[in-house]
């Protein structure tokens, strides 16, 4: 990751182009075109984890942005004019690629950055799949994928190498399968890893998808997890309860949350967040990656209707054999948090397991009340039954 960021930060010297792209955006064509992808959301994660979120959010508020808005967006927007944050700001983009399969916020955020940096903006609009992915929607997204390639060829002033694109697509699918296998190791008892580990190891499937580096990393990680399974090494010292996490992590409190659950003999064995980077694997076609991108990038967890999201959650409850569901109601991420109370009711009705809703924010620590959350976790733990 360090090498990747050094590469990105020195792109101006090495003559490489830099594209800023949304976290679940179509990155493979960028890799195929030798463009360095940079993720403002990953930047938001680093800001949150290094506890610089409040300061940067306050700077954005001083610029006129409301405190109610996404803290990733606020923190990143504030970094641009100040070169703030843990790595002194992101490298200047040559182009911006925005896919709204995760939220509408990224559209406004990227419009702001396109004006600030005065660079071309490509928007891949993926209609929300309330029930089914219609043929009209599929055609609409496929046309945009074709436009996207033209956009990249124009920005880079070179043709796309289709063989290289196919190879990157194959690597990407292989990585998503590896990532799924890594996450799946948590069905073992004891679970060799927890969601808190997944939050960490996620970095490469987000930022280096479609590269050999990510393949090597996840191959090694999978091997390590298998060794832990064989040796009976668990992620938490005493593992009595198995729980599922929903929504983004609370980046500035991951250690505290991890310790709090571990000390109550609970392991968060899976989460809906990190699994989203392989959630549409079934729709990806290794032999025709570009065409399958329309389905692959539209049919991800956050772009589905609440009923399908609930089905996914229930599928994970069964697959990982959890006894409780912990939902982070994230003030920043409205599309992730909006349907949670409905999903909670559906889960309670269909599986009858206890659920906990923690109100917090992924980066803005002003929205985290430690004592209150600890009390709620304790009350929740008392409700769990083997």
């Amino acid at each position: 990751m360090t090498a990747y960021y050094i590469d990105a930060k020195t792109a101006a010297d090495t003559g490489k182009k830099v594209a800023w792209i949304t976290s679940s955006g179509p990155v493979e064509p960028l890799i195929a075109m030798d463009v360095i992808p940079v993720y403002p959301e990953n930047h938001g994660t680093m800001i949150g984890a290094s506890k610089m979120g409040v300061d940067l959010c306050e700077k954005a508020e001083a610029m006129g942005y409301s405190r109610d808005m996404c803290s990733y967006a606020r923190a990143d927007i504030a970094c641009s004019p100040t070169n703030g944050g843990p790595i002194g700001g992101l490298p200047r983009p040559d182009m911006l690629v925005c896919c709204n399969n995760i939220c509408g916020t990224v559209l406004k955020w990227y419009e702001i950055q396109a004006r600030y940096y005065d660079v071309p903006l490509f928007i891949l609009d993926t209609p929300v799949i309330h029930t089914t992915f219609s043929e009209a929607a599929r055609t609409y997204v496929r046309h945009q994928v074709a436009d996207y390639i033209v956009f990249l060829e124009t920005c880079c002033q070179k043709k796309m190498d289709r063989d290289r694109m196919a190879e990157v697509g194959r690597l990407s699918i292989q990585e998503q399968k590896l990532w799924q296998s890594v996450l799946d190791t948590a069905v073992n008892r004891p679970a060799p890893m927890s969601a808190f580990d997944a939050f960490f190891h996620l970095a490469l499937i987000v930022t280096l998808r479609g590269t050999q580096t990510a393949i090597d990393y996840y191959t090694l990680l999978l091997q390590e997890m298998r060794e832990r399974i064989d040796a009976g090494i668990g992620a938490v010292p005493v593992e009595r309860w198995h729980l599922l996490w929903d929504n983004l992590p609370v980046w500035y409190k991951t250690k505290w949350l991890s310790d709090t659950f571990a000390s109550r003999e609970a392991c968060l064995v899976a989460d809906t967040y990190t699994s989203a980077w392989c959630s549409s694997l079934q729709y990806m076609d290794e032999t025709d990656f570009l065409t399958s991108m329309a389905d692959g990038y539209s049919r991800i967890y956050l772009n589905l209707g609440v009923d399908q999201m609930a089905d996914t959650v229930i599928g994970m409850i069964d697959h990982y054999g959890v006894q409780g569901l912990v939902m982070h109601s994230n003030r920043s991420c409205k599309p992730y948090s909006l349907g949670q109370y409905d999903i909670q009711k559906i889960v309670q009705k269909k599986r009858g397991i206890p659920t906990l809703i923690i109100e917090a924010d992924m980066v803005d620590a002003r929205n985290f009340s430690e004592a209150q959350i600890e009390t709620r976790i304790d009350a929740f733990m008392e409700m769990l039954t083997p």
Partner: protein, 177 residues
């Protein structure tokens, strides 16, 4: 938006006559010295805002609300095939800021609106938690500043409680114009 079209059409005729009469008498009225303001923002279900603003020395000369000007903007050409014509209108009108229509279209159209109506200032009324508008606001404000048009922002709840406080802020803003 919700009235029977026939009934609504009749009301519109009467309102138009009334407004024309008002416009005629306004030519000799002293209120032409009033400050001319534009209201801009999201859906506005807070109808008292018109009385609140006009209880000061300001007059509302135009609006740029989702539920105002932008709702009625652009005509559907009735001589053409209706479905494509209706779809075409949705693309041509000033879109909801949740959708993309160029990087400067909103600021350009707001400044044009202000210039066309010789506005002295703009009052933004943003419904709390309507993110697309909140994201656009700093840019719109900076462009209005550059064009020499003062602006103020009020975040409003769907059920507005503190009318007195809002009135005080608007009075102060109008005095400044």
């Amino acid at each position: 938006m919700i009235m029977d079209r026939e009934a609504y059409s009749g009301h519109l005729d009467r309102i138009l006559n009334h407004l024309n009469q008002m416009a005629d008498s306004a030519k000799t009225d002293v209120t032409h010295s009033a400050k001319r303001v534009i209201l801009s923002g999201s859906v506005c279900g807070f109808s008292n805002i018109y009385q609140i603003v006009e209880s000061t020395s300001a007059r509302i000369v135009a609006d740029d609300f989702c539920s105002g000007l932008r709702y009625t903007q652009c005509m559907v050409p009735i001589e053409s095939d209706m479905i494509p014509a209706i779809a075409g209108r949705y693309l041509d009108r000033g879109v909801c800021p949740a959708k993309h229509q160029g990087l400067t279209s909103r600021s350009d159209s707001l400044i044009q609106l202000a210039q066309k109506h010789r506005a002295d200032g703009v009052i933004f009324l943003l419904l709390k938690f309507c993110d697309p508008h909140a994201f656009d606001y700093p840019w719109l404000k900076s462009q209005l500043d550059a064009a020499g048009i003062p602006a103020m922002l009020a975040e409003i709840e769907d059920q507005q409680a503190s009318e007195g406080q809002l009135k005080t802020r608007i009075e102060a803003f109008v005095e400044m114009l």
